[in-house]
Amino acid sequence: MAALWSRKREAAADEALIRSLYEEHGRALLAYATRLTGDRAAAEDVVQETLVRAWRHPDALVNGKGSVRGWLLTVARNIVTDRIRAKAARPQEVAETPTTPPVQRDHADSVVDSMVVLEAMDRLSSDHRDVLMEIYFRGRSVTEAAEALGVPPGTVKSRSHYALRALRETFVGQQVALKGVAG
């Protein structure tokens, strides 16, 4: 009876874990996998496999949102890479549409770095994070970013500087600690 109860509870916990990962990171994962595979159906398989692996390794998910996402993206990338390698015996089969760059720069270090950067970004103050998002990831100019954020251009410049500095502080602290996690 107790065993049955705890099994039910485990099942509910499984479901909650998968759901929350899907709700929070599903979009990022699917978009990333779609770009890497160039194929929505294949990308969905990759995302499914990624989430299942996360469920099998709950210990990998204890950090802040940033590193969880970094971990998930790293796993997704590894799955894609493995599948491409598996097909390598028949190179003609790796379909690549012109808009789909092949998986490039498969350095473990850069994967670890990107996990660390995500983690570090998550720890920035929202002011700092927003300014980097606008300028770096959305490619906006100082004027555009200033408008979007409602601050003077001079503030955008100085904030982007302090944001980079803060990112670097966290990054250096985290980098060593996280090496090897990506496995």
């Binding site: 099994r7 485990e10 099942a11 499984d14 479901e15 998968i18 759901r19 899907y22 709700e23 929070e24 599903g26 979009r27 990022a28 994962l29 699917l30 978009a31 990333y32 770009r35 969905e44 995302v47 499914q48 989430l51 299942v52 099998r56 996402r69 993206l73 850069s110 770095d113 990107s114 660390v116 950067v117 995500l118 970004m121 998002m133 300028i135 770096y136 990831f137 100019s141 100082v142 004027t143 970013a145 200033a146 408008e147 409602g150 601050v151 003077p152 251009p153 001079g154 503030t155 410049k157 100085s158 982007s160 500087h161 302090y162 944001a163 980079l164 500095r165 990112l167 670097r168 990054f171």
Partner: protein, 257 residues
């Protein structure tokens, strides 16, 4: 901080007199706050020139710049998709599929766990039976081989040997593991009478020998054998045999390896 929406406001021009000459060692504008925007590539041409002029003469800013560049590089490794939030667009079919797989794997895990318990029970039975078996063998009059526990896969270069001395009836199984210029020896010795004082030797190819240990045979030692660990300074490649002698120097058993 949150005021001033003026989109046409073209930035602060509080840079004082602009510097032109790149070779100018005069006072350029030390404004490290601009380095972030510089690294991110969002300064206008005039500002870029000013920063670069200043960098040429300021080691501190150059060092700062190098650090920020590392960071900018690292950000380049972050895929743009990593910054999307929320669930995928277009229904949760994918979620349902994933949940189904997890449910079925969970069910499989429970089954495996039950099988696991069965295996443990079987192992317990085997140990009990095995113990009985060993005792039975130990008391049997004619034992040609001592059942010692099977060692886990020995390291490369390990030498194994086993022998029974036709005269004394003593039996020994040895394992010789190479170390850096010397050897570790594990020996299981049986068939020697209680109270015999024994020495274990490693014999080299040139006939010389090094003692690797000594012991007194106990009652259980006589019945079930004695297991010994020793070591000797003989190069692994030079080992010819492992040997047991009593304190009078009489040979009890030798195992060539």
């Amino acid at each position: 901080m949150t005021t001033n929406h003026g989109p046409t406001n073209h930035g602060p021009t509080n840079h004082g007199p602009t510097n032109h000459g790149p070779t100018n060692h005069g006072p350029t504008n030390h404004d490290p706050q601009l380095l972030g925007a510089y690294v991110l590539g969002v300064l206008d041409e005039r500002e870029v020139r000013a920063v670069e002029d200043h960098l040429a003469s300021c080691a501190r800013c150059r060092a700062e710049l190098a650090e920020l560049r590392v960071m900018e590089d690292a950000m380049g490794d972050v895929p743009a998709e990593a910054l999307l939030d929320g669930p995928p667009e277009g229904g949760d079919l994918l979620l349902q599929r994933t949940l189904r797989q997890v449910r079925s794997e969970r069910a499989g895990q429970v089954r495996r766990r039950q099988v696991g318990i069965g295996l443990v029970a079987a192992a317990v039975v085997a140990v009990v039976l095995g113990g009985g078996f060993a005792v039975g063998r130990g008391t049997a009059p004619d034992v040609s081989a001592v059942q010692t526990s099977t060692p886990p896969a020995p390291p490369a270069g390990t030498m194994l040997g086993s022998a029974t001395d036709p005269e004394t009836g003593a039996r020994m199984t040895v394992q010789v593991k190479p170390a850096a210029g010397w050897v570790r020896v594990n020996a299981s010795v049986a068939g020697i009478a209680q109270n015999e004082k024994c020495k274990l030797f490693v014999v080299a190819k040139d006939g010389s020998r090094q003692e690797a240990g000594s012991w007194l045979v106990s009652a259980t030692g006589e019945q079930d054998g004695t297991n010994l660990d020793g070591s000797a300074l003989i190069a692994p490649g030079d080992v010819a045999a492992i040997e047991v002698r009593n304190f009078e120097g009489e040979q009890i058993v030798t195992v060539p390896v």
